[in-house]
Symmetry: none
Subunit: 209 residues, 4 copies
């Protein structure tokens, strides 16, 4: 995720590659069973079959560890090709809702966002590992719709970027709010209704520009 090929040939025993994977898996497992607030790093280390020091050597604390553990979950998201833009969006919305239905994602994501309200570095880490990385879905979706002729090619690149951000916040925000704050399921019906409003809104906005 960060260093590809170490330029300076490190001396001493190299860090175990297995350890990092085991720790992240153990973190997700513990999030499922215990949730954020009862997750302890000592317990994660034990589950991973690793000493606490090994864990602290690689992550500064609970926040950083959980961001990394949760970020991997969202990499599962793919843009399905269902033939129409509306169907594609509905598909992503449902996938997203499915991930947010998993306890490790629910608990981990919100807690980390809460912590980030007071920690600029953590905020940046979230933006980098999660937000920016997943905006790819919006970009792909638009490109595919343009290829199909459903959307015209964008003319103003700045405006286009602003629209991508807006779509991302609206989609992700609505799903998160529905499932976590309102605590109602984001099922197919809901996804269909939401997608319709979103697409009509976007279409109307682009025409009346």
């Amino acid at each position: 995720m960060q260093s590809r090929t170490p330029v300076t040939r490190a001396s001493g025993r190299p860090r175990s590659a297995e350890a990092a994977a085991a720790i992240l898996a153990a973190t997700r497992e513990a999030l499922v069973e215990l949730g954020w607030s009862k997750l302890t790093l000592g317990d994660v280390a034990t589950r991973a079959g690793v000493a606490k020091t090994t864990l602290y050597r690689r992550w500064a604390g609970k926040n950083e560890l959980v961001v990394d553990a949760v970020a991997e979950l969202f990499d599962e998201l793919v843009l399905p090709d269902r033939g129409t833009l509306a169907a594609d969006i509905e598909g992503v919305v449902l996938q997203f809702a499915t991930i947010l239905a998993r306890p490790e994602a629910r608990s981990g994501l919100m807690a980390v966002v809460a912590e980030a309200t007071r920690d600029e570095a953590l905020r940046e880490r979230i933006r980098e590992s999660i937000v920016t990385r997943q905006k790819r879905l919006v970009l792909e979706g638009r490109a595919r719709a343009q290829a199909r002729g459903e959307l015209p090619p964008e003319t103003d690149p700045l405006e286009a970027a602003r629209t991508v951000d807006l779509i991302f916040d609206v989609v992700a925000g609505a799903v998160v709010h529905r499932t976590l704050v309102s605590a109602e399921p984001a099922d197919e019906d809901w996804a269909r209704g939401f997608t319709r409003v979103l697409l009509l809104g976007l279409k109307g906005a682009s025409q009346s520009d």
Copy 2:
């Protein structure tokens, strides 16, 4: 917020009314300075000039206390009468963004939502104290728009309720996601763009029903 009218006339010394207010104020103060995770109930008690036992006699723990402390913040929200539905919505969106810019709200709200992912009772408490209570804004807004003739009177009450929920999740979710996850400001420009998409979407959806 908890007991309205005590049915069983309590004997013994009654609970100090000042204490509750001082504790909630101290909680918000501590949230500002320390954030959720570093806020300790011992510290809150000290700030409020109260013993820890007094605090525990009224709230079961950190979560419950913070829900109450944060819920009060959202009672500030009012629906401004700016003449058009679009302007009214923009006004509420900006007010909401302003509250979410305050550290006690950012940190407290998200943390409590995170905890609620694993605590049904807390989830219910949030729904009751925050979500349901603030849906009044959507209802008022619709009523006012209908009075102005901007919207037709609803025909299907079930569909109408579903739309209220959708609007609430989209508005609240988008603002929260924009400010807390994407960590970008929800300023006037953004509010205008967002409102336009939302209204066009809703209008289109209601016509093509």
Copy 3:
């Protein structure tokens, strides 16, 4: 040992008297089983059925705790009345050797002395709790010998004090060195030989003054 009657009526829950006793007993028990270096305060707390915090609330660390635990052991020493000064001294020497044969005394005393080489406060605590307290034996022995007419009443008080110190260092030092450094038993034969040399030396020195 320290506060007789609390003048200022303490507020809050009073400290448990049983806890202190249980902790000191547990400390001696752990010293027997584990020795100084493997004794951990967490283990002592567990044995005493007490939380670690309770232990730390009363003692600053391992050193202070062990000084107190060991000091009590030496309070068992009494000056037997065996009829002659020589016999009395032999008796004390053997009692002292018996105590030093107990593992909690051996291990605890020397370790604490070792730590005290770099800690003036600890040195003072040892002097107060052990050295000064046990010099009473030398004083009593002299008084009894004077009453029997075995020793003349002292004339120069400064010289007398210096002699008490010398006797104490020679007796305690020889027994400790014999048992702990040379690692040979301080049995009756040895005690008899040692006492004879000591008494003859003291008698000779006082005559040739």
Copy 4:
């Protein structure tokens, strides 16, 4: 101190001779600065410019290392020829007190003795490296006094050995107790008083045998 002459000609790279010396010197340096309990083998290795593995290849642990480091200090002791037995003894006593005034000796010696109370192998190592080695001073002193005619040649070899042990324990024990437990200086005055008592006692004891 450990391997005299390697019988089996070792293959591979031979052990660095400088390393051992550097480690022992670093150990004494660390004892001075940190004392026994805060001395860490990692720090010693760093000071000696050596890897931890090198250190562990030669010593089993902290105890063994410190015994060796401290034992060398006592090899400085020599029996001065001041003309009379009394003066010779006073000289050794003062030399011994001087060494014990050095922090590396105080702290290291007592700590190692404390550890030895629960470790027979370490006890044996101390007896071998320090006790037996330094008894030479008592033997030399007696021989010299006999040559001068101050003492008669011994007749009973068993009794003579017992006396050597007694003298050693009394001298070493008194000095150690005086300086480390009572925490008073063993200066010239004290040495003179102590020596007088010791010699008179020994003389009296040998006459009345």
